[in-house]
């Protein structure tokens, strides 16, 4: 099992946002998380790379394990984070660096790779996301779709075990959504393990191995796209699917 999450809770002050999440993801699988606004999808992703520290529970990625029932050291958190690549809704490229410098940054600063080899690899990644010709452009010179593809390349440069996407296309103009989804589908086809929060139901149907429906901090139902979209078992899932279709 690539990823397993056990009894994960997250509380902000008095509000309990995640109420005991259990899930597993096998290597090379694509899991799409759907659910109404405020159901905790973003918080779950942010807990998986420990941008938010879970209140309790266990997360295991590959061989590495964090147990939040006990105090967790900062060093362990930094090491754990390198196992995941995060793609943000609003890209969060580093504005003072060109596209290729954004992609090289992690390998150079964190992995201490030498510049020349980092640049070579970064160029390959930019080619992969179709942006080799924009390598020396600053983020402000790129469209939203192009920025997000650089964001994906930047995360891939750290060679993560799993890629996390938080609504990667929801800040984009409709005509730019396709180019980002295509890159994500290519990744899925190459066997990348992915957890994707999205409202793009077509992507979910075409690319997901499993759909997870979350509501009010809990996983309500999970299944293949076929099962979940055509014969949902839970009432809440049915209601949600009606609402978005």
């Amino acid at each position: 099992m690539m990823i397993s999450v056990n009894g994960l809770y997250k509380q902000f002050g008095a509000i309990e946002v995640l109420k005991g999440i259990d899930m597993t993801v096998e290597k090379g699988k694509v899991v799409v998380i759907i659910g109404p606004s405020g159901s905790g999808k973003t918080t779950l992703l942010r807990c998986l790379n420990v941008l938010e520290k879970p209140t309790k529970g266990k997360i295991k990625i590959g061989e590495k394990k964090l147990d939040f029932d006990n105090p967790v050291g900062q060093k362990d958190i930094h090491a754990f984070r390198r196992l995941t690549g995060m793609v943000f809704q609003n890209y969060q490229l580093f504005p003072h660096m060109t596209a290729i410098e954004n992609v090289m940054e992690g390998p150079i600063t964190v992995k201490k790779e030498d510049k020349a080899s980092a640049r070579q690899k970064a160029m390959l990644l930019l080619e992969k996301v179709g942006l080799a010709d924009k390598a020396n452009h600053y983020p402000f010179e790129l469209s939203g779709g192009q920025q997000q593809r650089v964001g994906i390349a930047r995360a891939l440069a750290m060679e993560p075990e799993v890629m996390l996407f938080d609504e990667p296309t929801s800040a984009l103009d409709p005509e730019l959504v396709g180019e980002v989804l295509k890159v994500m589908k290519d990744l899925a086809n190459e066997g990348m393990t992915m957890i994707v929060v999205t409202h793009e139901m077509r992507f979910a149907k075409e690319a997901a191995d499993e759909i997870i429906f979350m509501d009010q901090g809990m996983i309500v139902e999970r299944g293949t796209p076929q099962q979940l979209f055509t014969q949902p078992k839970e009432e809440r899932t049915k209601q949600f699917l009606q609402l978005i279709q």
Binding site: N49, R81, F88, Q92, H96, G106, T109, V110, E141
Partner: protein, 236 residues
């Protein structure tokens, strides 16, 4: 008064010649004062001050109560008291505790503390102006606090803080004239010394003022260059 003085110059060619001679002969000592004292004093104080400012700014946003309080008290004390009084305490006051510091290092200490306090507010605001998402993007690549600060946050904060820090720097150049009062042989003290022998106060103080002006003018050109360079990644 001004008119009389001007009249004097125009009317009396001998006096005119005397003034020209003094102006010429005092230029070198003044420039030496600038080169050996004003400029080193400014550069050293700004460098130490900036270091102190960064540490103070980080303490202010550290979330550690003790650090925050220490930083706050320091900034408040420096901003709430006159620079001249601070210099006098360090140079004339500390000897009463048995701590005697030479004029130049005493001035460096005083000005550094001053720059540290004022610049820390600028740097704090600049760091806070970098969106939280930038920290998170850095962390998500596996960076630690220091790496995120150095590689991602500082470069962006620098762009915001260069204009106000340049103002601090230019003020510092001018403020170093106060060091004359704690016996640092900087440019203005040189002017005072020369004027006290020949009583040409207007001439010498104006000459010193012009040199300050030239220095500050050059600095503002440098500032412009730096700003342009740091703004190259911003949409225009």
């Amino acid at each position: 008064m001004v008119k009389m003085y001007l009249n004097n110059i125009v009317i009396d060619p001998e006096r005119m010649e005397r003034l020209t001679t003094i102006a010429k002969s005092s230029l070198l000592p003044l420039l030496k004062g600038a080169l050996y004292n004003t400029i080193p004093l400014t550069l050293l104080s700004f460098a130490f001050g900036l270091l102190l400012a960064v540490l103070t700014a980080l303490a202010r946003i550290s979330g550690v109560k003790l650090f925050e309080v220490v930083a706050r008290v320091y900034v408040s004390a420096i901003r709430g008291t006159p620079l001249l009084v601070q210099l006098f305490i360090i140079f004339y006051g500390l000897p009463n505790l048995g701590v005697t510091i030479d004029p130049f290092p005493a001035a460096v200490i005083g000005f550094s503390l001053n720059v540290g306090a004022y610049a820390s507010e600028i740097i704090r605001a600049a760091i806070l102006s970098v969106p939280k998402g930038q920290w998170e993007a850095a962390y998500s690549l596996g960076m630690n606090y220091v790496q995120a600060l150095k590689r991602i946050v500082f470069p962006q904060a620098a762009r915001v803080s260069v204009p106000p820090l340049s103002n601090t720097f230019i003020s510092l150049v001018k403020d170093t004239s106060l060091a004359s009062l704690i016996l640092v042989a900087e440019m203005f003290r040189k002017a005072q010394e020369i004027a006290s022998t020949n009583y040409e106060f207007l001439l010498l103080y104006t000459e010193a003022a012009l040199i300050y002006w030239v220095i500050c003018f050059v600095l503002s050109i440098v500032q412009d260059r730096i700003e342009k360079r740091l703004n190259r990644y911003i949409a225009r």
